[in-house]
C-alpha cells in the first residue's frame, strides 16, 4: 500500500474529518505574538454549553474519533472540563492544547486516568528567554509547572508542542531533551502567517538554512517526533517526510471556531475559507455540502508549480501560508525550498511599489481579531518597559475595534503604546 494511493483517496475527502480542530474560545490569558487565531478576548457570541454538547453529539454520530480542542486558552472556559467529560462519555476523544494555566496537581491526576484525553502543552522556546519573547513573561515557567504536574501524575506521552521559529530552530535537541525528561512526546509544527502570525512572519519564520537543518533533523528523528504533517513543503529537499504529505484542508481536517463558523483549516480564519456555520443546520451539513469544501476536494492543477519535479511530494505547500503572504494559491509556498516563494514575494513587492498608494493591494487580514486591546502582563511588544530578553518582536499597529461589554481584560480601552 503506497502513501500515494492514500493521499489520492484522501484528496477526494472523507465522510467525516479525521482531525477536527475546535477552538472553544477566543479568550486567552496570554497574547502570543504569533497567535494564529488572533485570540485574547472572549467573543460574546461564543457557543453555549448546550450548543457545544450538540456539536459533540454530531461528532459522535459522524464517528469523528477525536477532536483537537484549542483556542484561545480553552481551559479558561468555565464549562471546559464538563465538555471534555461529555465528549469522552460519547466516545469522542479529546486532545487539547493549553499553555498550562489550569493544569494543577488535581487536574493532572484526572487527565492521567483517562485513555480518551490527551494534552498538548505549547512551548515556543527551550529556554525561558526564547519562549517568553514570543509567548510572554512567565509563560515558560507556567508550561514547565504543568509538565511537572503531568509527569508526577504518571501521564506519559503528553505532547510538548513547539512552533518552529527563527529564534528556536537551533534548540531542537534541547526540546527533545525536555520531552524525554518529562516522559512526553515532542511535536514540532510550522509557523503560519495566520492571525497575528502575519504581523511577525518576516521576523519569525525560519531562514532557508534553518529549514534545511530542520528537515535533516526530522529525517534523523523519524517517528519519535510528531509534526502534524505540517512540513510537507520540505519534501522537495529529497525523500518525503513520513506521514500524509498533502494539504488536508476541507478534505480530512477543518476548524470550528468559537462562534460556530467552520473554516477549511485552523490556519485559514478568513471569509475566503469560511464554509458555513454550525448554527445554520449543523456541522454535518457544512462538512458534506459546503461548495467551498467540494471545490477543495476537486482536482488541483498545480498552477505554476505543476512543472516542478517535486510537485508530487510538496503539492505546492500550504494554502494558508500562500494566502496570507499575498501569493496565489496555485503558486509556490512562501517557504518553497527551491526559493520560488521568496522570488514570487519579491516580485509582488516590486509590482506594488510601482502602483500608486490607492491601487496597492493590501495583504489579506484575518477575518476576525480578538486580540487584547491593552497591555497584557508579561507580553512583549505591547508598549511595556524594557524587557530582559534579547529577542525583540514587533507588532504591526492595528486600529483597535470598538470595545465590547464582555472584554475580559480589565484594562480594555487602555490605549496600547503602539508597536514595539
Amino acid at each position: 500500500m503506497s502513501t500515494e494511493t492514500l493521499v489520492e483517496l484522501f484528496e477526494h475527502g472523507l465522510d467525516a474529518p479525521i482531525c477536527l480542530t475546535w477552538e472553544l474560545t477566543y479568550a486567552c490569558n496570554l497574547a502570543c505574538v504569533h497567535c494564529l487565531s488572533s485570540s485574547g478576548r472572549r467573543d460574546p457570541d461564543e457557543l453555549s454549553t448546550a450548543e457545544c454538547k450538540a456539536v459533540i453529539d454530531t461528532l459522535e454520530r459522524m464517528q469523528v474519533f477525536y477532536v483537537n480542542i484549542g483556542g484561545g486558552e480553552p481551559t479558561v472556559r468555565p464549562d471546559f472540563w464538563e465538555l471534555v467529560d461529555y465528549a469522552t462519555a460519547h466516545r469522542v476523544g479529546v486532545k487539547f492544547s493549553t499553555n498550562g494555566v489550569r493544569i494543577n496537581e488535581a487536574v493532572a491526576r484526572k487527565l492521567a486516568a483517562s485513555d480518551y484525553v490527551d494534552v498538548q502543552i505549547s512551548l515556543d522556546g527551550a529556554t525561558a528567554e526564547v519562549n517568553d519573547a514570543v509567548r510572554g513573561l512567565g509563560s515558560y515557567a507556567m508550561a514547565i509547572r504543568a509538565m511537572e504536574h503531568l509527569a508526577a501524575a504518571g501521564f506519559t506521552g503528553f505532547k510538548i508542542s513547539v512552533v518552529v521559529t527563527r529564534q528556536n530552530a537551533g534548540q531542537l535537541d534541547e526540546f527533545k531533551a525536555l520531552a524525554d525528561r518529562y516522559g512526553a512526546q515532542l511535536r514540532l509544527t510550522r509557523l503560519r502567517p495566520s492571525g497575528r502570525g502575519a504581523d511577525v512572519w518576516d521576523e519569525l519564520h525560519p531562514t532557508a538554512a534553518q529549514q534545511r537543518q530542520l528537515y535533516d533533523w526530522l529525517c534523523a528523528h523519524g517517528e519519535q517526533v510528531l509534526t502534524g504533517d505540517s512540513f510537507f513543503h520540505l519534501a522537495a529537499y529529497g525523500e518525503a517526510l513520513p506521514g500524509l504529505n498533502m494539504c488536508g484542508a476541507g478534505r480530512v481536517v477543518c476548524l470550528i471556531d468559537p462562534v460556530g463558523d467552520v473554516y477549511a483549516c485552523p490556519f485559514a480564519i478568513h471569509e475566503n475559507f469560511l464554509a458555513g456555520n454550525i448554527r445554520a443546520g449543523g456541522f454535518e451539513a457544512v462538512w458534506r455540502d459546503s461548495p467551498l469544501f467540494a471545490e477543495l476536494r476537486g482536482p488541483s492543477a498545480g498552477g505554476a508549480c505543476a512543472s516542478c519535479q517535486f510537485y508530487d511530494s510538496c503539492r505546492g505547500g500550504c494554502m494558508a501560508a500562500k494566502f496570507f503572504t499575498g501569493l496565489p494559491l496555485d503558486g509556490p509556498d512562501p517557504e518553497c525550498v527551491r526559493g520560488f516563494g521568496e522570488q514570487a514575494r519579491a516580485e509582488r513587492a516590486l509590482a506594488e511599489q510601482a502602483l500608486a498608494g490607492a491601487d496597492r493591494t493590501a495583504l489579506p487580514r484575518p477575518g476576525v481579531d480578538h486580540s487584547h486591546h491593552g497591555p497584557v502582563r508579561g507580553q512583549p511588544g505591547r508598549g511595556q518597559a524594557a524587557r530582559p530578553v534579547p529577542v525583540t518582536i514587533g507588532r504591526r499597529p492595528v486600529a483597535a475595534p470598538p470595545d465590547r461589554a464582555c472584554d475580559v481584560n480589565p484594562l480594555a480601552g487602555f490605549a496600547a503604546g503602539g508597536a514595539g
Binding site: 479525521i18 474519533f65 477525536y66 509544527t189 509534526t227 506521514g243
Partner: protein
C-alpha cells in the same frame, strides 16, 4: 493539518497489499474494545483510543472480515464467510497481521 498519527507512522494501511510477519489464521480473533471503526467509500478508518493510532482498511471485504472476527471461531472462518477465495487469502492474512501488530485486533479471550 494536524494528522499527527500519520506523521508518527501511526497511520497504517491494512489490506491485501500490505506485508508483514506471519499471522495465525486458525486462532480466534476479535476487534480490541478500544477501537472504533468508521466506514468510508474506499473501505474504513480504524482508530485505537489507547494507542491513538489510526488504521485504514483498503476495501469493503477487509472491513467485513474485521467486523465479524469476534463472531467466528477463527480468522480463517471469518475470511471464508466474507467470500475470500483461497487464492487471495494470503493477502488478507498479511493485512490482519498489520492490525494485530498495531493491537487493533486481539486474540479472543485476551483482556
Amino acid at each position: 493539518m494536524s494528522t499527527d498519527h500519520a506523521r508518527a507512522g501511526l497511520l497504517t494501511a491494512a489490506g491485501p497489499a500490505s506485508s508483514t510477519g506471519p499471522f495465525d489464521l486458525d486462532c480466534p480473533w476479535r476487534l480490541d474494545d478500544r477501537v472504533a471503526i468508521r466506514p468510508e467509500p474506499f473501505g474504513a478508518l480504524l482508530y485505537h483510543f489507547g494507542t491513538r493510532r489510526l488504521s485504514f482498511l483498503k476495501n469493503a471485504t477487509m472491513l467485513a472480515v474485521v467486523r465479524s472476527l469476534g463472531e467466528h471461531p477463527s480468522a480463517r472462518a471469518a475470511c471464508e464467510a466474507a467470500g475470500i477465495q483461497p487464492g487471495s487469502l494470503a493477502a488478507y492474512q498479511r493485512g490482519l497481521a498489520v492490525l494485530a501488530e498495531s493491537h487493533m485486533i486481539t486474540p479472543q479471550g485476551a483482556a
